[in-house]
């Protein structure tokens, strides 16, 4: 071992030891969070890493993701080369060939050589986007971000140049291993600078040491820059939510002495929620998908994660701190995340749908809401009557609970209490029961079920709000009260399926009621109606029908993947036009997450944004499969002065085609 080799070995060992210490510290920060079990289904988790890290499926969902794919895999191969080169510097004569054999070694060398060029191209595109094109999604109000991005891009660029430089000098020095055949780019570089008359051994040494130095710097810089995602993203994919993203965490209220509910400081989050903060790549895809951001509200999911991470970095203790000092407790609201941001969220889930490393934004915001609502009793004033209405009359509409089944008057809809057992329990929901427009939809659904001879019943006044709205508004206590009452009621009856025309109820029963011990087969009315049409129990006339655009509800399409059924029901009765933003990338109507019940005084109106998208399609109808979306479109059309365009639920369209 040469003197240089020894020095390098010491530096190498020291920087990796320091890096290990930093990683250990990052893990200890996570351990300061609350427990959460994400260690089940290991095989599915490994598979997720293969698909979303290896194949970069979500990254590649957008064209710019190709650049990331190239840099990621370039990084992997070139790092092998870097280690190979360092080891050979430390232990003279060592090469990767000794481990993998000459042929494979040569192949890896070739891959590194080619990836180098691809990475440079990717870096150029990245720099062009970051500093020239400046797309909306990279916009962030922290001046450190572009500086860090520029530094990292330049460092990678210099590293690649140095790699070619080192290899080029090796070729010039007559290396047997690195040749024109397995390192054509390096050879070309060598040829280009060969005539400069450099002292080759000195040039080789200088270039190698520069390269090594940057690597060591990189190693210790990454964990404290926005590039911490290199460490966080892969475990975050491994620990991703394998269940439904439409399931919020269940809170436990058994502790009578508890003084605090929800999240107000970082250590109140679970370790996985903190890991999310390491994982953010700052790609900003969530930002441009977010309906709040798109309509000029203060919320951007990207900024929330960015600020929480910044808070994590400022709240963390020193590398060797212990106990509570590892992650100090400072209030998140209002400095890191403001109340306006928290209440702007429609919980539409578009951010989570876009996020390449599967960050779970919505739960974080709901956790903050939980603290504001339940611990501090602090929330927009208009929410209080909503909570009260749900407490007293089990619906947000301020209508007496005993009139819940009034919509069905004269329709001969059987009550569950008079039947006991039946095939389908029609869960009408609050909108379908109390909202005048929703009632019309309920009547259409009931008429279709009767026409098709379905054996169904409703709960009538026994039905309570499913709790979805309360839950997403952060009032988990009220939500659980409603959920538990409903479960008691439902357990009294025997039925095969619960069917509802409301995607919010649908998501609740499908993704959340099982948390509380009720697992019944749940179907959206689009699923049942499609089955009835397929079985010819409903026969819409097939003469084209009206033409209209179908809008995907977030809680039906994005959260639960019910995309095909409403379209097929519609296409049996109408001609369907598609929105530009559709299916699981649909744009929220603005009513989710309790926003239906709040004033929208910040930015422009989400429903108007979506309505304008509709109007751009030049159709005079919009079809929905959600009572909230229906209301939001009707309001949007009214406020844009386009009441000539009408909104219908798919059940109404089908009923019309069946002869009304």
């Amino acid at each position: 071992m040469t003197a240089g080799g020894v020095v390098l070995l010491v530096l190498f060992a020291a920087s990796f030891a320091a890096f290990g210490l930093v990683v250990r510290f990052l893990c200890r920060i996570l351990a300061a969070g609350k427990p959460e079990n994400r260690f089940n289904r290991v095989r599915d988790r490994v598979w997720a890493v293969v698909v979303y890290v290896g194949a970069q499926l979500r990254v590649l969902a957008q064209p710019a993701g190709l650049g990331h794919f190239v840099i990621f895999w370039g990084f992997v191969f070139i790092t092998i080369g870097t280690l190979d080169h360092m080891l050979s510097q430390m232990f003279g004569g060592f090469t990767l060939d000794r481990i993998v054999g000459r042929t494979a070694g040569s192949a890896i060398l070739l891959l590194q050589d080619v990836f180098g060029i691809l990475v440079i191209v990717a870096l150029a595109v990245a720099a062009l986007r970051r500093f020239v094109l400046k797309p909306e999604r990279l916009k962030i109000d922290d001046p450190k971000v572009p500086v860090q991005a520029g530094l990292i891009l330049s460092l990678i660029f210099v590293l690649i140049l140095l790699m070619y430089g080192v290899r080029g000098t090796e070729i010039l020095m007559g290396s047997e291993r690195i040749t024109r055949a397995n390192a054509p780019v390096s050879a070309a570089a060598a040829a280009a600078v060969g005539g400069l008359g450099m002292n080759l051994p000195i040039a080789y040494g200088v270039l190698s040491w520069l390269h090594n130095g940057i690597i060591f710097f990189f190693l210790l810089y990454i964990p404290f820059s926005k590039h911490i995602h290199i460490l966080g993203a892969i475990p975050n994919v491994f620990f991703k939510n394998l269940g439904s993203t439409g399931t919020l965490s269940r809170m436990n209220f058994e502790d009578d002495a508890a003084e605090k509910f929800g999240v107000s400081e970082l250590p109140d989050y679970t370790w996985k929620q903190l890991l999310d903060l390491y994982a953010c790549t700052e790609c900003g895809r969530c930002q441009v998908a977010c309906p709040a951001y798109r309509t000029g509200k203060p919320l951007s999911p990207y900024r929330v994660i960015h600020r929480l991470r910044a808070r994590l970095m400022s709240d963390k203790g020193g590398l060797l701190s212990k106990g509570e000092a590892v992650l100090r407790k400072t209030p998140i609201v209002p400095d890191a995340v403001s109340e306006d941001e928290i209440w702007s969220c429609t919980t539409c889930g578009a951010c989570m749908q876009e996020c390449p490393p599967f960050i779970e934004h919505v739960q974080k915001l709901v956790d903050l809401r939980r603290h504001l609502v339940m611990t501090e009793s602090r929330f927009p004033a208009e929410m209080q009557p909503v909570f009260k209405n749900m407490e007293v009359n089990y619906n947000p509409w301020a209508i007496g609970y005993s009139s819940r089944a009034d919509w069905a008057e004269g329709l001969d809809v059987p009550l569950a209490s008079s039947r006991g057992s039946f095939d389908v329990l029609l869960w009408v929901g609050c909108a379908g029961s109390f909202d005048a427009r929703g009632q019309k939809v309920s009547r259409a659904v009931a008429a279709l079920l009767r026409r098709a001879g379905v054996d169904f019943a409703i709960l009538g006044a026994e039905e309570m709000c499913c709790g979805e709205t309360a839950r997403r508004m952060g009032n988990e206590y009220l939500a659980q009260t409603l959920i538990q009452s409903n479960i008691e009621t439902l357990k009294k009856y025997r039925f095969k399926t619960l069917v509802t025309a409301c995607p919010h109820g649908y998501n609740s029963f499908r993704a959340e009621y099982p948390q509380f011990g009720l697992s019944v087969p749940v179907r959206h009315h689009s699923e049942l109606l499609l089955e009835l049409v397929a079985a010819k129990k409903l026969s819409p006339r097939r003469d084209g029908g009206p033409r209209g655009a179908f809008h995907d509800s977030c809680y039906l399409g994005r959260y639960n993947g019910v995309l095909r059924q409403p379209r097929r029901v519609l296409s049996s009765a109408a001609r369907v036009v598609e929105f530009p933003r559709r299916r699981s990338r649909s744009f929220c109507c603005g009513a989710g997450g309790g926003r239906m019940w709040m004033e929208e005084h910040l930015g422009t109106r989400i429903n108007e944004e979506r309505t304008r998208e509709l109007l751009g399609l030049g159709v005079d109808r919009v079809f929905t499969a959600c009572p909230y979306c229906l209301t939001m479109f009707e309001d949007g059309l009214k406020s844009l002065g386009r009441e000539d365009v009408k909104a219908y639920d798919i059940a109404e369209v089908l009923l019309e085609a069946c002869g009304g």
């Binding site: 209220f253 009578d256 002495a257 508890a258 003084e259 605090k260 509910f261 339940m374 611990t375 501090e376 009793s377 929330f379 004033a381 209080q384 909570f387 009260k388 209405n389 007293v392 009359n393 301020a398 209508i399 007496g400 609970y401 005993s402 009139s403 006044a461 206590y477």
Partner: protein, 262 residues
């Protein structure tokens, strides 16, 4: 400072009220009960006074009502009242304001008081008598339909605001006094969950009229004789016409000839 908040259990404003067959009261099934809206302003004001006064002040919620009122008393405790007195006696079911006032007077005398807040009226029978009878029984001043409240620095007096035609009236009163509250005085808080949890352990002292030494008179000073449902309305009729002028003409004709009101 001993602050009292009076509260009454009343049918929810959204409940469908139907007179029972015998005409002795309303049908109870399908009705949810709540704290009377104006009493909620009183509870909120009591809590605000306590928070501002600091020191050893307490808020006691006092309710005269049936056993089922306990749930609502817990709500007042969850909002922040320290303890509660529940006068629970079958004799109170008669709805006689005099008896209710006598019960409340005995209860607040027992617990002591520096100021009493209540609603300007209960939203069920809208009689609005209790606070006045109570003031007489306790021989303290009363200020009604209050939309603003300010306690003096030493806590011995209060300045109150009343909305009157064309302006506000400012009234100063010595304490103890009874203040009946109007909408606009404050926005009642929503009980926090720790508040709800704590309320489970707070004390509710349940008393009968006998416990309080209130004699039930053989005959009530006033009694509800009979409840009569409203005659079914014939429904609303929309007057429609192409021109507004024709619609007005038709409306006038109907008012004159059909309903004979002009």
């Amino acid at each position: 400072m001993k602050i009292i908040a009076l509260m009454k259990r009343v049918p929810d404003t959204e409940a469908r009220i139907l007179v029972n067959q015998e005409g002795t009261g309303i049908k109870d099934d399908g009705i949810k009960y709540v704290i009377s809206t104006y009493d909620e302003y009183g509870i909120e004001q009591a809590l605000r006074v306590k928070e501002k006064a600091g020191g050893p002040s307490t808020v006691t919620a006092v309710c005269a009502g049936p056993e089922e009122a306990t749930e609502l008393i817990r709500t007042a405790l969850a909002m922040g009242a320290d303890d509660a007195v529940h006068v629970c006696d079958p004799a109170l079911a008669s709805g006689d304001p005099f008896l209710a006032a006598a019960a409340l007077a005995a209860a607040v005398k027992e617990s002591g008081f520096d100021i009493i807040f209540c609603g300007k009226q209960a939203i069920d029978d809208d009689m609005g008598q209790v606070q006045t009878i109570l003031a007489e029984m306790l021989d303290v001043p009363q200020v009604n339909v209050v939309t603003g409240f300010e306690l003096s620095g030493d806590g011995s007096r209060a300045t109150l605001r009343r909305r009157i035609e064309g302006g506000d009236e400012m009234i100063e009163t010595a304490l103890p006094a009874i203040v009946s509250c109007e909408k606009g005085l404050n926005e009642p808080r929503y009980a926090s969950l720790p508040g709800i949890m704590k309320a489970k352990k707070k004390e509710i002292r349940t008393k009968t009229l006998a416990d309080l030494g209130v004699a039930v008179p053989g005959e009530a000073r006033s009694a509800i004789v009979r409840w009569v449902p409203l005659p079914k309305s014939s429904g609303c009729r929309m007057v429609q016409a192409e021109e507004a002028r024709d619609a007005v003409r038709e409306l006038v004709k109907l008012l004159r000839d059909e309903s004979k009101v002009i």
